[in-house]
């Protein structure tokens, strides 16, 4: 009996905490779908409206920011997949001269992400003429220590026999990579892809530093300018804009919850 009331209490506690955790988002939805004057007065019968979304859409160049973010995220992920696959393969199966030192140097990037070195990286981009380009935002992230590490670990688990069998069949070292290693690492690619996309969809500091026009700014930077108190936009419209910016990622998360959590976990534990 005591056990059962204890469990019931815990259940209520867990639900309350869940409600508390969702409340900021729930509030944003409430404010976004109701007239601005309702933002501060809760009334369950308030009329619903989409006008906040229409306003947000016209106040800031959202379509442009969306395109920029999608281009940025796709570009970074494709480059990362290629570069990290090659480097991970090198570390997993080629005991080349200096591979231990090289691997140690690669891991430095786990600590020193490009956003820590904004001052110097901005200078480099200026020299390369890449300030205010989407390539400039993406370039420092394309060789990802984290991706190299994950793929190296995965490739190391591939049995040598498979590798040798493929070589006997006449595959070159790139053929083996493509036919044996890459297909076997599919779960790792999925995990890495989800983490990379959400990281770069949400990344802010470096894109802010390196961009200065609507043509290149991703959603987060656009949203920061749009939501700044100086801009004088009301809460309902800010909520609507914020929801629009997070909607694609949020929908993807709700659909693929399990994969998302597993990916973040795998990514974190390494």
């Amino acid at each position: 009996m005591r056990l059962r009331t204890g469990f019931a209490l815990e259940t209520v506690g867990a639900w309350l905490l869940a409600a508390l955790w969702l409340s900021p988002l729930a509030y944003a939805f409430w404010a976004a779908f109701h007239p601005p004057e309702m933002a501060t007065h809760f009334d369950p019968f308030a009329p619903l409206t989409l006008s906040n979304f229409a306003k947000a859409w016209t106040y800031a160049p959202f379509p442009r920011h969306f395109v920029n973010t999608v281009v940025l995220v796709t570009m970074i992920l494709s480059a990362q997949l290629v570069l990290c696959t090659l480097a991970g393969y090198a570390f997993a199966r080629f005991e080349f001269f200096g591979h231990n030192v090289a691997f140690g140097l690669v891991l430095v990037q786990l600590m020193v992400m490009p956003e820590v070195l904004i001052v110097e990286n901005y200078r480099i981009m200026a020299r390369l003429g890449l300030v205010d380009t989407i390539l400039g935002i993406g370039l420092p992230y394309m060789a990802s220590a984290f991706g190299i590490f994950l793929l190296r670990q995965t490739f190391k688990t591939v049995p040598r026999e498979l590798d040798e069998a493929a070589r006997v069949e006449g595959c070159g070292f790139l053929g083996v990579l493509w036919r044996v290693y890459v297909p076997l690492a599919r779960p790792t690619y999925l995990a890495y892809g989800l983490v990379s996309v959400s990281y770069h969809w949400n990344n802010f500091l470096w894109p802010l530093v390196v961009t200065n026009s609507v043509e290149t700014r991703p959603l987060t930077v656009g949203l920061a300018i749009f939501g700044a108190p100086e801009s004088g936009v009301d809460w309902a419209v800010i909520s609507a804009g914020t929801i629009m910016a997070i909607a694609p990622l949020l929908v993807a998360f709700l659909l693929f919850q399990r994969q998302f959590m597993q990916s973040f976990m795998q990514a974190g534990i390494k």
């Binding site: 815990e10 867990a14 080629f94 080349f96 820590v116 110097e120 990286n121 500091l205 800010i238 914020t242």
Partner: protein
């Protein structure tokens, strides 16, 4: 042959890594010994002048202190909440999947969006915090305008955002614990609290250490919210080291001094890296 292939495969990634991590890190160190060049006065070697300026800069010490308080205020709280969340979600609760999703959702949202939403909660009088405070008869506060309140206020938001992320590590650890332990405890008649205190909590210790180090490293990079909520103010009361670096470099255009500040940040991260390495070593020894 393997040497050539190995380096060829590594080359594209290595060039980018050297170009945007190692080279800028070294260049930052070198720049920190020079003065900021202007059109009239070119940059020149100044030795440790930038570091001397740093030692005399009250704002530097303030943001460093803020970083410390920020870490102390957010990490233990987020870890404790994460542990409770994981314990709950690991049980056969009704609507468990929904609860787990609720806890994790803040993690996938961009900090900028989160800060946009929370800015409203902090608003004096009409904001959520003041509404709740009013229920208990507390006076209205200017949460983000008061130097004493602003840092704790931003910490609440960061705990909310981070707890769900830490939860999944505890969840993974809990699921790997042998179920026999709980059964044995049940037979022995151990209370749930006793079981947690003497069995679960000690077994989760490696996870706690892991989360602790990673959270500390992460706390030096968490500055996005400042751009929306406070701009580091009032009077730098909520500013953090990386945000100060941004301000010095891109608002005050003193890149040499910003380089010296970056070197401090790099040293702090290096110390944490060594700590993390030692912890991992020790865990391996235990096995």
């Amino acid at each position: 042959m393997k040497h050539v292939y190995g380096w060829l495969l590594l080359a594209p990634a290595a060039i980018l890594l050297v170009g945007f991590t190692h080279y800028p890190a070294v260049a930052t160190l070198i720049d920190s010994f020079f003065s900021t060049g202007t059109a009239v006065r070119p940059s020149r070697f100044v030795g440790f002048d930038n570091y001397a300026a740093l030692a005399d800069d009250p704002i530097f010490w303030q943001v460093l202190g803020n970083n410390l308080w920020f870490a102390l205020g957010t990490i233990p709280a987020a870890i404790a909440i994460a542990m409770v969340m994981a314990l709950w979600v690991n049980e056969k609760l009704p609507a468990r999947a929904l609860v787990r999703m609720a806890y994790f959702t803040p993690t996938v949202l961009p900090m900028i969006a989160v800060a946009n939403l929370w800015l409203f909660f902090y608003t004096p009088q009409i904001g959520l915090f003041d509404r709740v405070a009013a229920l208990f008869g507390a006076p209205s506060h200017n949460w983000l305008g008061d130097p004493d309140l602003v840092l704790p206020a931003t910490m609440v938001m960061v705990v909310w955002k981070e707890a769900g992320f830490f939860m999944i590590f505890y969840l993974a650890a809990l699921q790997s614990l042998p179920p026999e332990l709980a059964e044995a405890a049940k037979i022995e008649g151990a209370s749930r609290w006793y079981f947690f205190r003497r069995v679960t909590f000690p077994l989760l210790m490696p996870t706690t250490l892991f989360v602790l180090v990673n959270a500390t490293i992460n706390s030096f990079k968490l500055v996005d919210h400042l751009f929306i909520l406070t701009k580091g103010g009032p009077d730098n009361a909520s500013s953090l080291l990386l945000y100060y670096i941004y301000q010095v470099a891109f608002s005050f255009f003193d890149t040499a001094y910003a380089s010296a500040l970056t070197v401090v940040l790099l040293v702090l991260l290096a110390i944490l890296a060594v700590l993390q390495f030692l912890l991992i070593e020790r865990r391996v020894h235990y096995r």
